[in-house]
Amino acid sequence: MSVQATRAAPFEADRASPSKPGAGFQAIAAVLPYLLGFLMLFVAWHIASVYIVQSVLFPAPAAVFAKAGELAASGVLFEQIGASLQRIAIGFVLGSAIGIPIGLLMGTVPFARKMIEPWTEFLRFIPSVAMITIAVIWFGIGENSKIFLIIYATVFIVTLNTASGVATVSKNKLRAAQALGASRFQIFYLVALPATVPFILTGMRLAMANAFTTIVAAEMIAASDGLGVMLWNGRLYMLVDEIFVSLLSLGILGFTFDRLFRWGILRFAGRFSPVA
């Protein structure tokens, strides 16, 4: 809209802009703090590398970006990223698909909760990285072991968040539905389930972070491709630039997915807020 206005009547647009900034300006203002933050991160990195450490073991951002460009151009970088992301995606979807129904069951049926709790309470203290060796023995070094590990890294966090979400639905919301004539089943899918959505999404967001940690560790130990392999080969052959490229990729990927999730929560589920 503002673009059209500018084209049609530039003077009017000029007069309007100080009181009511255009959409483009607002978008820039919104991301400006982020851009500044990232810029400072890279400046600090540059200073630390070039002026303080002054070692080939700590490359400057420019060198890392150059290496990243090189790896991207040859397609190697995207192959590795793709391999890791595919494992995360499959494991994460499966883990959530298992965790959500179990969490809902635990939150709704006290008997089920008491029965399942020993499992979740026991297993969630065994970190997924501790399961790598057994996963490799069970499933080999192919895709299955990594997917198993991501499922393992996802399922408990999603289950527990879902269950606690169901448990925190305010009493009056359930009572209101009862007094309005809702059946138990209607109360479940029209009240308890939607009220739990933000908790499910929060659980998935935390699980996503966990999945990133797990995949790197698993790939370092047992895989032929992926960002973890890039890290490990970097150590073996002293390719410090490549190590930094994969670290940078992990940071950017993690940040991007987390933002996407947050955006999704706000965009699609903001009004599902349990407190309002």
Binding site: R175, Q178, L180, V275
Partner: protein, 263 residues
């Protein structure tokens, strides 16, 4: 036979200390069809507890609550509830979707229930707000959505817990008039909790005053016999006000002296 009968009802909870904490005790009252009872009492005396037992959310620890001679066992769409506070609305539904919730679970076709819901939205003075979510509405507006939601279900009995507490004086008096009109037209039996003596006298057929809590009971029930439109200028209004006020004053004083002892 009385429509509703509370026989020596008491309710207690297991307190964290292990002892039981008494919320309300020895509460006896009968309601006839079409009664409009206002319940007054100091904070913490057990008004909400009585209401949630009448609704069937909680069972009495002792005594009995009978409805048409049958013990109340579970909530029912025959007893509509307006809750204290606004955490009972569904934040993922719009105002009009909240209002039509009861009709929706009752299987009323979408078009029909939407039309009914919009009528009730109008009735509580919120037309034009149909598509807003609860988070976008003020406290008083949310309260009115709750009232519309309960009314749209056309319950035989309305249980209202300080429903007009969050409203400004103007809206409050409009809503009072509307509630009187609905009560007149439908003959719904109403139990209405309030802290406002004026409101109780303008609305009800009987005013119940409770003793100070915790563990309050019914102290007195004063029938309000004013004919026609109720006016504050009516000399009877003044007499009732005095009577209710003197009953409740001592209890509020007791309640606040408990507070001081506890502090």
């Amino acid at each position: 036979m009385a429509f509703v009968e509370l026989r020596d009802v008491g309710k207690w909870y297991a307190a964290l200390s292990g002892r039981r904490s008494i919320a309300v005790q020895h509460f006896s009252l009968t309601l006839d069809r079409g009664d409009f009872l206002c319940l007054l009492g100091p904070s913490g005396c057990g008004k909400t507890t009585i209401l949630s037992m009448l609704a069937g959310f909680e069972a009495p620890s002792e005594g009995q609550i009978l409805l048409d001679g049958q013990a109340v066992r579970a909530p029912s769409r025959d007893r509509g509830v307006v809750f204290q506070g606004d955490d009972s609305l569904y934040p993922w539904l719009t105002a009009v979707q909240n209002i039509e919730f009861g009709l929706r679970v009752g299987g009323v076709p979408a078009k029909e229930r939407r039309a009914t819901a919009l009528d009730y939205l109008d009735l509580v003075g919120l037309n034009g707000q149909a598509e807003k979510f609860p988070a976008e509405l003020s406290g008083g507006m949310k309260q009115r959505i709750q009232i519309a939601r309960a009314l749209a279900n056309k319950p035989k009995m309305l249980l209202m817990d300080e429903p007009f507490g969050a409203l400004d004086a103007q809206t409050r008096s409009i809503m009072q008039r509307e509630l009187r009109r609905i009560w007149d037209a439908t003959g719904t039996t109403i139990v209405f909790i309030t802290h406002d003596i004026d409101e109780a006298i303008l609305l009800s057929t009987r005013v119940g005053v409770m003793t100070a809590g915790p563990g309050g009971t019914l102290k007195s029930v004063i029938p309000i016999e004013m004919t026609g439109d109720r006016e504050r200028a009516d000399p009877a209004y003044g007499r009732y006000y005095q009577q209710v006020h003197s009953d409740i004053r001592d209890e509020v004083a007791k309640a606040s002296s408990y507070g001081r002892k506890a502090a």
